[in-house]
């Protein structure tokens, strides 16, 4: 016997109530002085025994009523609870319907999701009368279309029919947990979970936890699998801008990664890229992608105008179209301003700290500098306090001894809003100041500046960057020998960088970008607020090294700048379901924005007001359930347009189903049904039940309670009658 509400068994303690009432009544007894005692005593003597028996009988009856009532409320069930009441009374059911994007796989007739909806309707039809049902749509999140079980089965049917696919991946564990919690709140003799999914193995990562929940003795679980095995699927796993500053008019490379999730090799896979929804502007072919593997292809495109753009890579449609295209948002610029803070007084000469930096950032002859996208401005450290940092994409501190406190505060606000900071130490750098303020106080620096090693005057003693094994995106380019080498640069002197964990809320994890040959960090970075900080171990000029005159210097600085901008653009590319949070121009505060995207069926868009969030002007938009390109039109004069992209989880493209072994393990705890349009679920469920169903005893107990109460009423009346 199992109890559906075992906690209510504590109600049996109410058995003490009649005894307490009896004691209480004794306290309230009336006292009477009496003369005719002899007659009373004679009367009591004749009736005392009978009265005691009657009292005991009534007490026992009252206690019995309370015990039966507590038992009835505790809902005892004989036999297997999940089967109890099957075919006899209502069932409390939860239908969990998989709406991850893999359910969009279609064999040209009906998609897996269409089949799942039909199966769900069949489940509802098969429920016995008096049943209630909750409907949960699940992917990697659970959306409760009907959160609490409803007896309105027509409503449940409508919800199932209106259910829509998402662009999310699958997580069965989350929906199982929620379904169990839902049923836990609604005790009934018969409870069932109907998990309707395509059985994609990727969604069962925590397989043991899921089967553990399926094993619940109180809930009968059924796994209804829809769709056939799919042996072919190609999908775009990743699309990213290939590590350069997106300047207007330049050929911008995009790296497209195409995955082959099928069982066989894919040959001659055409890949196209298009900008802002226009026809494809570049196309390439991947000759071969092995089964289970992926290949990269670089495609180029140009952005004609400054501002926000989207680039969409696509392959030929297959049975699962959701992963056949992927969109990325970028910001093209023709005015990329970099502030160079030069700690050396010999400004403009090759000995100055920023000479090589400026030339690396603007690698064109002087007459062409005005037309070049990147523009630099060199200032002395003391000018930092009066400079509006927000006008610059990045700030470079080159051999700056120290900065003022106000400049540090401005720097913190600038980084918090998404700015970039690059630090090149040098001979004049006050390491103590840096460690104390930029490190300890604000936590900007990913490492402390330790001891200085090497001697620039002893050029025969040098050390170099690592020669291979570049893992960080900034330097991953040099994994390709064709890109040259970083190890050619000689370093004669550098600070010993000692990584430190971020101790402020804004500080992200410190990461090593590049190491010296001996393994000590040469370049480190950390995110800070919405911005990024990159710290070099040595100088930006030739004072301590010859990096600045090496060929690798230019691309290294370019990619460093790209990393700064990428941090800023990262917020333009979010995963499905994540809110879009965009730091706006302060002038946009209180302006309205109309947002449109692929999920916007009406086309009218959604209205949002730009407001201040944590002191930062912010546009917040949370309706990002559909993957693709989005556009925010800010109502300024003239109107400003911000484009961003929502990307789905590429892991969902892997349509590999649960293995037979896994299905066997599931079948040990739940009924597994491979649904086809010809399947009659009701028959399947009946077959599973057999004839052995348990029984909920609460009705019987309630009848007993009523009967006992009636008997008590009659006996109490009889016994209290005068004798």
């Amino acid at each position: 016997m199992t109890f559906l509400n075992p906690l209510l068994l504590f109600g049996m303690a109410a058995i003490a109530a009649p005894i307490i009432i009896h004691m209480f009544m004794n306290r309230r007894i009336k006292r009477v002085v009496w003369a005719a005692m002899r007659f009373l005593q004679a009367s009591v003597q004749k009736n005392q025994k009978r009265m005691e028996i009657e009292d005991l009988l009534l007490l026992a009856l009252r206690c019995l009523i309370l015990v039966l009532l507590a038992l009835a409320l505790a809902r005892p069930v004989i036999g297997r609870v999940a089967d109890a009441g099957a075919g006899k009374g209502g069932e409390t059911a939860v239908i969990a319907l998989d709406n991850s994007y893999s359910m969009g796989q279609s064999d040209s007739s009906a998609s897996r999701f269409d089949q799942a909806r039909k199966a769900a309707e069949q489940v509802i039809d098969s429920l016995p009368s008096g049943s209630s049902v909750a409907v949960l749509l699940f992917s990697d999140v659970v959306r409760a279309s009907i959160a609490e079980p409803t007896y309105d089965l027509n409503l449940a049917r409508k919800v199932v029919r209106d259910a829509a696919l998402s662009d999310r991946s699958t997580d069965v564990q989350a929906v199982m947990r929620q379904a169990m919690e839902t049923l836990g709140r609604h005790a009934s003799a018969s409870q069932g979970i109907y998990l309707i999914t395509d059985g994609q193995a990727a969604g069962w990562k925590k397989f043991n936890d899921i089967t553990g929940m399926l094993r619940s003795p109180t809930v009968k679980s059924r796994l209804i699998l829809v769709g056939d095995d799919e042996s072919h699927n190609l999908g775009i796993k990743d699309l990213r801008q290939a590590g350069t500053v997106v300047a207007v008019g330049d050929n911008i490379p995009f790296d497209v990664e195409v995955g082959n999730f099928g069982a066989g090799e894919a040959k001659d896979v055409p890949v196209r890229i298009a900008v802002d929804g226009d026809p494809p502007c570049d196309e390439g072919v991947i000759p071969s992608i092995p089964a289970g593997g992926s290949k990269h292809l670089t495609l180029f495109t140009k952005f004609r105008t400054p501002g926000y753009h989207t680039a969409t890579a696509q392959i030929n449609p297959d049975h699962l179209t959701a992963d056949d295209r992927r969109t990325i948002a970028v910001r093209a610029t023709d005015d990329l301003r970099i502030l160079l803070v030069d700690g050396d007084s010999k400004s403009g000469s090759p000995e100055s700290a920023t000479f090589f930096l400026r030339n690396a950032l603007v690698p064109v002859p002087a007459p062409e500098r005005e037309q070049y996208a990147v523009k630099t401005k060199i200032i002395a450290p003391e000018e930092m306090g009066t400079t509006k940092l927000d006008e610059y994409e990045a700030v470079v501190l080159a051999d700056v001894p120290s900065v003022s406190a106000s400049a540090l505060e401005a720097l913190a606000a600038y980084l918090n809003r998404g700015g970039g900071l690059i630090v090149f130490p040098g001979p004049k750098t006050n390491a103590g100041f840096y460690n104390e303020n930029l490190g300890k106080k604000f936590g900007f620096l990913p490492a402390t500046l330790g001891a200085v090693r090497g001697d620039p005057d002893q050029t025969e003693k040098f050390f170099s960057f690592q020669g291979q094994g570049y893992t960080h995106p900034i330097v991953s380019l040099w994994n390709d020998p064709g890109a040259g080498t970083l190890a050619g640069a000689h370093f004669y002197r550098s600070f010993d960088l000692k990584p430190v964990a971020g101790h402020t809320a804004q500080a992200g994890e410190a990461q090593v970008v590049l190491k010296f040959g001996d393994g000590s960090p040469a370049m480190m970075e950390r995110t800070w607020g919405r911005g990024r900080v990159i710290l070099f171990a040595s100088s930006a000029n030739t004072a301590w090294n010859d990096l600045a005159v090496r060929p690798a210097f230019l691309p290294l600085i370019d990619r460093t700048l790209w990393a700064i901008l990428d941090r800023q653009d990262a917020r333009l590319n979010i995963s499905v379901g994540f809110p879009f949070e965009f730091v706006c121009d302060p002038d946009w505060v209180n302006k309205d924005a109309i947002l449109t995207g692929p999920g916007d069926k009406s086309g009218a868009g959604s209205l949002r007001r730009i407001g201040m969030q944590d002191g930062v002007p912010m546009l917040h938009f949370e309706e990002t359930e559909k993957a693709g390109a989005y556009e925010a039109r800010i109502k300024t004069d003239p109107p400003q347009v911000v484009k961003f992209a929502v990307q789905s989880n590429a892991a969902e493209s892997n349509l590999e189903a649960l293995s037979p072994t896994q299905l066997e393990a599931v079948a040990a705890t739940a009924q597994v049904i491979h649904w086809t349009p010809d399947t009659h679920l009701e028959d399947q469920f009946t077959k599973q039940h057999g004839g052995a169903a348990g029984a909920d005893l609460w009705i019987i107990l309630t009848v007993l309670v009523i009967a006992a109460a009636c008997v008590e009423l009659v006996l109490a009346g009889l016994f209290s009658a005068t004798k």
Partner: protein, 298 residues
């Protein structure tokens, strides 16, 4: 407790006076009263005139009539005598019970006082005894109305706090009183019924008339209690917790059985049994009883 003045209820006295108290039997006495005496040659109460015949005692000639009418008439006298009424009031602790304002003892005292006044008003004699296990306060025979106050003072001063032994008191009275009289016993008779009846029988054997005023509280006759009640018995009968509503019928059976045995025993012994409910007005009790006596004995 009723004070001395309260013991005489004016309404009760007024009604009783009109009706008078007639002795059922002629008792012997030494005072002339309304009761016919079996003894001759001793008369003070004029009865009638008759014509003189020779041989009559000339002392009885009515000289005034002779003077006025010149006729000889003899004055004839009817000789009458008094009786002694022995009022016996139960002063045991059980008489202290009252469900309302008046205890059984208060009620008994009032009845005794009323009767004493009436009897003295008729120039008969009264004795008064208050008893429990024995006679405690005793007022000797008196025929003076002036002594009514002393009688009442005796009644008022008594405080009941002992058990009852009615039979012993009755036996004692029967052996002490030589003359026939009327014994008026006012009690709840919460004693052994057989012994009480033996005592009454003893009194009757001596030729006296016995009247029993059986005083009961209305609660003792109806047992109206509800809920759980702890009864604390008087006269050391202990305590008892019970639900009286459930025992009412059984209790009333016991009480009525007791009353029936008492009444039957009284009737068997030629004793007048009068049941008195303390809820009744005194005058109703007295006048009702006296009316009955007048009707029965003339």
């Amino acid at each position: 407790m009723a004070s001395e003045h309260q013991l005489l209820d004016p309404v009760a006295i007024h009604k009783a006076e009109l009706l008078g108290l007639q002795a059922r039997q002629i008792v012997e006495g030494y005072m002339v009263g309304e009761h016919k005496s079996p003894y001759r040659g001793f008369a003070i109460e004029f009865s009638q005139h008759r014509e003189y015949v020779p041989g009559d005692d000339t002392r009885h000639l009515d000289w005034k009539v002779l003077g006025r009418s010149d006729r000889y008439y003899i004055k004839q006298y009817e000789q009458e005598t008094n009786y002694v009424a022995h009022l016996l009031v139960d002063g045991s602790e059980s008489m202290r019970y009252a469900s309302g304002r008046i205890t059984k003892f208060d009620y008994a005292k009032t009845i005794a006082a009323c009767l004493a006044y009436l009897i003295l008003l008729q120039r008969d004699a009264v004795t008064l005894g208050v008893f429990d296990t024995a006679t405690r306060n005793y007022f000797p025979r008196t025929d003076s109305l002036a002594s009514i106050h002393s009688l009442m003072a005796l009644l008022s001063s008594f405080v009941p706090d002992q058990k009852t032994r009615i039979a012993d008191v009755l036996h004692e009275m029967a052996s002490q009183v030589k003359r026939k009289g009327i014994f008026i016993l006012i009690s709840d008779c919460f004693d052994d019924v057989d012994e009480v009846l033996q005592g009454i029988q003893h009194l009757r054997f001596s030729g006296s008339e016995v009247i029993l005023f059986h005083v009961m509280d209305p609660a003792e006759l109806t047992f109206p209690f509800k809920g759980s009640v702890q009864f604390r018995g008087l006269e050391g009968t202990g305590n008892l917790i019970t639900r009286p509503a459930e025992l009412r019928r059984s209790y009333l059976r016991e009480v009525h059985g007791f009353i029936d045995r008492l009444r039957t025993g009284c009737e068997t012994n030629g004793c007048n049994y009068v049941q008195v409910n303390t809820a009744q007005p005194w005058h109703e009790v007295l006048s009702g009883y006296l009316a009955t006596r007048q009707h029965r004995y003339g």
